[in-house]
């Protein structure tokens, strides 16, 4: 299935590059519907890989690449459930989204996140699962989870630790502040910064360059360069579940879910 149009995303293959495009209002929040579509993509990936050498993940939403987990849905679904069912539901979601992220991370393709605007939480984590990040100069990266009494839960800390110095990881996670694309490039997170609206074009240009290389060598090089921190990813799920069950998180999610701001990304 080399062309797909789902509820929250679509994909197609063009000149050996798979383009996976997120499109869910307001800013590609990752809830159940997006997870299901991502799982469809992962299931289709073995067949897509046979005709592709690269994958670009991008967004059509003008607000940004992805604002992270759908916290309003998380609250709405979890709030009425008894404690044990809430934990089981959370764990199931985390296991599934980790499977998606891990599959993208280790895919035998060169993967490029073409990002712009809000690239927060789970959106940042999706970009970190990719091999390269090409960022529009108006991109902002942020892990705001501590504001809710949580940590990033889709593999963010292990992948950030893999790619960056620990002081930068502490700065981003412990302060919850957002950084712009230039700063992100200066710390080594972003490979290329583009003009506004140009990230996808530059990602396509990069993907075209990759096509010149022997695919087997590119796959071997990626495997050698990019270890997947499986143990830490498992520990992240456990820690996230422990933290999620505390009353402080319930209060933080309620405040977020009941905010009158359409896009309450700042406290």
């Amino acid at each position: 299935m080399n062309i797909f149009q789902g509820e929250t995303l679509s994909w197609h293959v063009l000149d050996g590059t798979i383009e996976l495009t997120l499109d869910r209002a307001p800013c590609n929040e990752i809830g159940r519907a997006t997870l299901i579509d991502l799982e469809k993509f992962i299931a289709a990936l073995p067949a897509l890989q046979r005709e592709a050498h690269a994958l670009i993940i991008n967004s059509t939403r003008k607000e940004g690449f992805c604002a992270g987990a759908d916290l309003r849905e998380t609250y709405r679904v979890a709030q009425p459930l008894p404690k044990d069912e809430r934990l089981a539901g959370l764990r199931d979601f985390l296991e599934r989204i980790h499977h998606v992220m891990n599959t993208l991370d280790e895919a035998p393709l060169t993967t490029i996140a073409a990002v712009h605007g809000v690239t927060f939480g789970g959106g940042f984590e999706l970009a970190l699962a990719c091999d390269l990040i090409v960022a529009d100069k108006m991109t902002r990266f942020c892990f705001p989870e501590l504001r809710l009494g949580l940590i990033p839960g889709f593999g963010g800390i292990p992948r950030l630790k893999r790619d960056l110095g620990n002081a930068v990881v502490r700065d981003l996670v412990l302060t919850g502040r957002s950084i712009n694309a230039t700063k992100a490039q200066s710390v080594g997170l972003v490979s290329q910064v583009t003009a506004e609206g140009d990230a996808l074009r530059v990602a396509r240009s990069t993907a075209a360059q990759l096509k010149k290389f022997d695919r087997g060598t590119a796959i071997a090089a990626k495997k050698f360069i990019k270890p997947i921190p499986y143990d830490e990813l498992r520990r992240e799920i456990e820690l996230f579940c422990d933290l999620f069950m505390r009353p402080a998180v319930d209060a933080g999610l309620r405040k977020f879910a009941e905010s009158t701001d359409a896009l309450p990304y700042l406290p």
Binding site: E63, M138, R140, R177, N180, K183, D261, Y265
Partner: protein, 80 residues
Amino acid sequence: MNTIDKTTDEVLRLAAEHFKVQRDQLSPDDDFFKKLGINSLQALDLLTRIEQHFQIELPDYELQGVSDFRTLAQRIQSRL
């Protein structure tokens, strides 16, 4: 070295350009959320413009509770 008045003026100009309003419609004591009709996400865009223009980093937590251009300019000034 920018003075606070010059910084304020530059912030007003940047906001007017980014949100496509006339510069003379904006005043230092305006509430930029109300005057520009913007949400927290659009305020982040303004923050990015400001960081690029002044070549500074301004953590968004420093803008908590800040809603007027004059106070925003003061926060910027402290980073110059």
